[in-house]
């Protein structure tokens, strides 16, 4: 679709910006990355009342054009960079009507960039409840632009807003807010003259502040600005402080004339009363752990049926395809390789959806920031930050989005430590590995009436992962050096009911990202594995076929057993088998044989590949992808000397390996993307592999 007009949504966090974006664009939206950076870029289209199409881009929420994080720096780049393809023709600044003073700061900054602007005044109902009356027309007149009261949540005023967008002026009509030039008269004059001639003093001032971090001016220009700053004695922080004070003076004047707040006797708000319970000294923590417990119970309980449905579907699809398609290597590749791999990914969809549903509810209601508030002290002790709680909890689902969510941790060291330890948290990809191995060696019975032994073992693995993440963080606190000061200035938004549509959108987005990102890796791995396991060096395979065609085999073995004998001998002689034999001496001390070795190698692409690999290796009959059958086959698997392969020691040693090892290509890639330096993923990979080997070794020898 071609856009007739480009519109950017700008606003503080927690102002309902995403809700407005969803209301304007519906499902007609696309998530991508801003060029050059990995900040989620949400764009969508919206039909305007005059028949034109508007492209809407949702910019990251920010309190000011002076960025405190990478996400926030996008806002200024998109608004100011003339060559940016997203540069809007019109900015819609969304303001929380119940909290106008702080919200207006960003408006005054955006307005001074002299891009046409419209204000959407959201949450009018909340403001009214708080005894705030706003003279909307008066405000529009004072600012010189359209001001549209809306309620994004109730979808009120949206048509008016669309009209305002459609009929907005093409040139910036807003009144000046502050005397920008007075802040640094000579510097602004000189920059405007030398660098860009666009007669916008605020743009020049922002260049002076941000020239070191923005990427749309040349190094020469940046160096020249630096020179000019020295020449005129420009002090960035001092200038910013006086600018902020000037802006708030303007805002106070504006609010004095247009907003009236009924003076109410300090009536206790509902939000405050909720906080008294949820951040209570004792109940606060009990409730938090209760919520976590409920979350994990639900993830497992609710996902059982959808997961079984998906697994059954793939089994059905695979067997039907086997019937329909002519048998041969291509069919085997598609059905066993690709479909087998696909089912491995798809099965996780319910768990990921449920987990992200919970996380977005916790964030949307405002509870997550309370958790941050409560946990900051503890987290700081171990070298993390209150804000690390969110990625760590998210790590139970998947480290990839969690590592992306560390971006709102402003402190570099806190953020790096969080990124380094998040992959230790038991993610959903480890779950099938654990459940398979636990079911194999832990008896399914209850102790103390209600505690199921298998459930206890699984819970143990989850708690163990948190302990190891915290311990590693504590150690890294002393290794990493940083001069930067950490700070923790954060809004505690008013409690709200979750917006179910947003929750749904977020679940959908995450699942889609997971299927696309992990899916690619898993399909690639399954295809490679299939090739490695189906072909062998030289004429080994032919010789095996010839050997089993001899009458002594054909007569003494049943056809099923014969097939199995042929296939397992072929596997041992395949490329994959050769690979497994190569690493066997290294993993022997951990209790693993060459077959487990193959699974370990393939699992370095993604952990969940383990089950599929085990299925391919141990299964040679048709229903390869069924967990039950994999489990049975692993249960009956014997070493050459006749002893079972999967003893308690081997199974727990294997689980310890999966608990620590960095077996996830997507995580390695995302850590690189986030840190922009190969040393971080390399260091992470190294320390996790060493820990995995040690933990496995110790476990095996203790339990043997």
């Amino acid at each position: 679709m071609n856009a007739d007009i480009k519109v950017a949504l700008v606003g503080n966090p927690n102002t309902g910006k995403s809700t407005l974006f969803n209301v304007l664009t519906g499902l007609n939206q696309k998530i991508g990355n801003f060029p050059g950076v990995t900040v989620d870029k949400k764009t969508g289209f919206c039909d305007l009342p005059d028949g034109r199409h508007a492209q809407i881009v949702d910019l990251p929420g920010t309190y000011s054009l002076y960025p405190k994080s990478r996400d926030e720096s996008i806002v200024f780049s998109v608004l100011a960079d003339k060559s940016n393809p997203l540069r809007p023709d019109l900015v819609v600044v969304i303001l929380d009507a119940s909290n106008l003073k702080r919200n207006l700061l960003l408006y005054t900054q955006v307005a001074d960039l002299k891009i046409p602007v419209v204000i959407a005044l959201n949450m009018m109902d909340l403001a009214k409840k708080g005894g705030i009356t706003i003279d909307v027309d008066g405000m529009a007149q004072r600012l010189g632009i359209p001001v549209v009261p809306i309620s994004a949540r109730r979808q009120e005023g949206i048509d008016k807003l669309k009209e305002a967008i459609a009929f907005a002026s093409k040139i910036a009509l807003q009144e000046d807010t502050i005397d920008v030039e007075a802040l640094a008269p000579q510097l602004i004059g000189q920059i405007s003259k030398e660098i860009r001639v666009d007669h916008n003093p605020y743009y020049a001032l922002q260049l002076a502040h941000q020239h070191e971090t923005i990427n749309f001016i040349t190094p020469a220009e940046s160096a020249r600005i630096e020179e000019l700053e020295h020449e005129f004695g420009f002090h960035s922080q001092k200038a910013q402080a006086s600018e902020t004070i000037a802006r708030y003076n303007f805002i106070n004047d504006l609010l004095y004339d247009t907003v009236h707040q009924k003076v109410t006797a300090q009536e206790e708000t509902l939000s405050n009363r909720i906080d008294k319970v949820l951040t209570h000294k004792i109940f606060g923590f009990i409730i938090f752990f209760g919520i976590l417990l409920f979350m994990f119970q639900s993830i497992f309980a609710w996902s059982v049926y959808p997961m079984k449905l998906i697994a059954d579907f793939f089994v059905w699809a695979q067997s039907s395809l086997h019937h329909i398609l002519p048998s041969g290597p291509l069919t085997s590749l598609v059905v066993d390789g690709v479909m087998g791999g696909l089912s491995g990914v798809m099965v996780f969809i319910p768990q990921i959806a449920i987990l992200f549903g919970f996380i977005s509810i916790l964030e949307d209601t405002g509870y997550m920031s309370r958790v941050t508030f409560m946990m900051d002290r503890i987290m700081r002790k171990v070298g993390l930050n209150g804000k690390s709680v969110v990625p760590l909890i998210g790590g139970f689902a998947c480290a990839v989005p969690s590592i992306m969510s560390t971006r709102n941790i402003e402190n570099w060291k806190d953020r790096m430590i969080t990124i380094m330890v998040t992959p230790l948290v038991t993610c959903s990809a480890r779950l099938p590995v654990y459940t398979l191995l636990i079911a194999l060696v832990v008896p399914d019975r209850n102790v103390w009436w209600i505690f199921n032994l298998q459930g206890l073992a699984l819970t143990g693995m989850y708690l163990f992962s948190l302990v190891s993440a915290v311990t590693v963080a504590f150690v890294m606190k002393y290794i990493l050096k940083s001069r930067e000061r950490g700070y923790f200035i954060m809004e505690l938004p008013v409690y709200r009911m979750p917006r179910w549509k947003n929750v749904g959108h977020s679940m959908y987005d995450r699942v889609k990202a997971f299927v696309l990102q992990a899916g690619k890796v898993i399909i690639a791995v399954s295809v490679i594995l299939w090739v490695l396991a189906s072909y062998g060096p030289g004429d080994r395979f032919q010789r095996i076929d010839q050997k089993y065609h001899q009458p002594q085999y054909a007569q003494h073995l049943k056809s099923d057993d014969l097939h199995r004998a042929i296939a397992s001998e072929k596997l041992e002689n395949s490329y994959a088998g050769a690979l497994g034999h190569v690493i066997e001496p290294v993993i022997r001390p951990l209790g693993f044989d060459w077959k487990i070795g193959i699974a370990l190698i393939t699992s370095f692409a993604a952990r969940e590949v383990f089950v599929g690999t085990m299925a391919t290796i141990y299964s040679v009959q048709g229903d390869a992808e069924k967990m039950e059958s994999v489990q049975q086959k692993m249960h009956t698997a014997k070493n050459p000397d006749g002893s079972p392969v999967f003893t308690v020691a081997v199974a727990f040693s294997l689980m310890m390996f999966y608990a620590f090892a960095m077996q996830c290509a997507s995580t390695v890639a995302v850590v690189y993307r986030e840190t922009k330096n190969w040393r971080w993923p390399a260091a992470q990979f190294a320390y996790m592999t060493v820990l995995a080997y040690l933990a496995s070794f110790i476990t095996y020898h203790l339990l043997k």
């Binding site: 309190y63 000011s64 002076y66 405190k68 119940s98 909290n99 106008l100 003073k101 702080r102 700061l105 922080q237 001092k238 910013q240 402080a241 902020t244 004070i245 708030y248 939000s271 405050n272 906080d275 008294k276 951040t279 209570h280 000294k281 004792i282 606060g284 923590f285 920031s369 508030f373 409560m374 900051d376 002290r377 503890i378 209150g386 000061r485 700070y487 923790f488 200035i489 954060m490 809004e491 505690l492 938004p493 008013v494």
Partner: protein, 79 residues
Amino acid sequence: MFCYKYNHMRLSQLEVGETGIVKEFTDLEMSVKLMEMGCLPGEEIRVSRIAPLGDPIAIHVSGYQLSLRKREASTIILQ
């Protein structure tokens, strides 16, 4: 207001429920961030709660709730 009897009373010294008016800051870098968030000289601040483990604190300022660590609160000098 009773705060007046202290010299250089800092925000970190207020108990829950007490109020004060921002006078100045002891740290420029922190002041820039705090002012953006609405903690300006002349603005009234009320301590609304303290985290269960004693730090950070939550304050009510310019119509909303803000949380900050005690060390950060100690850079705010009240009138």
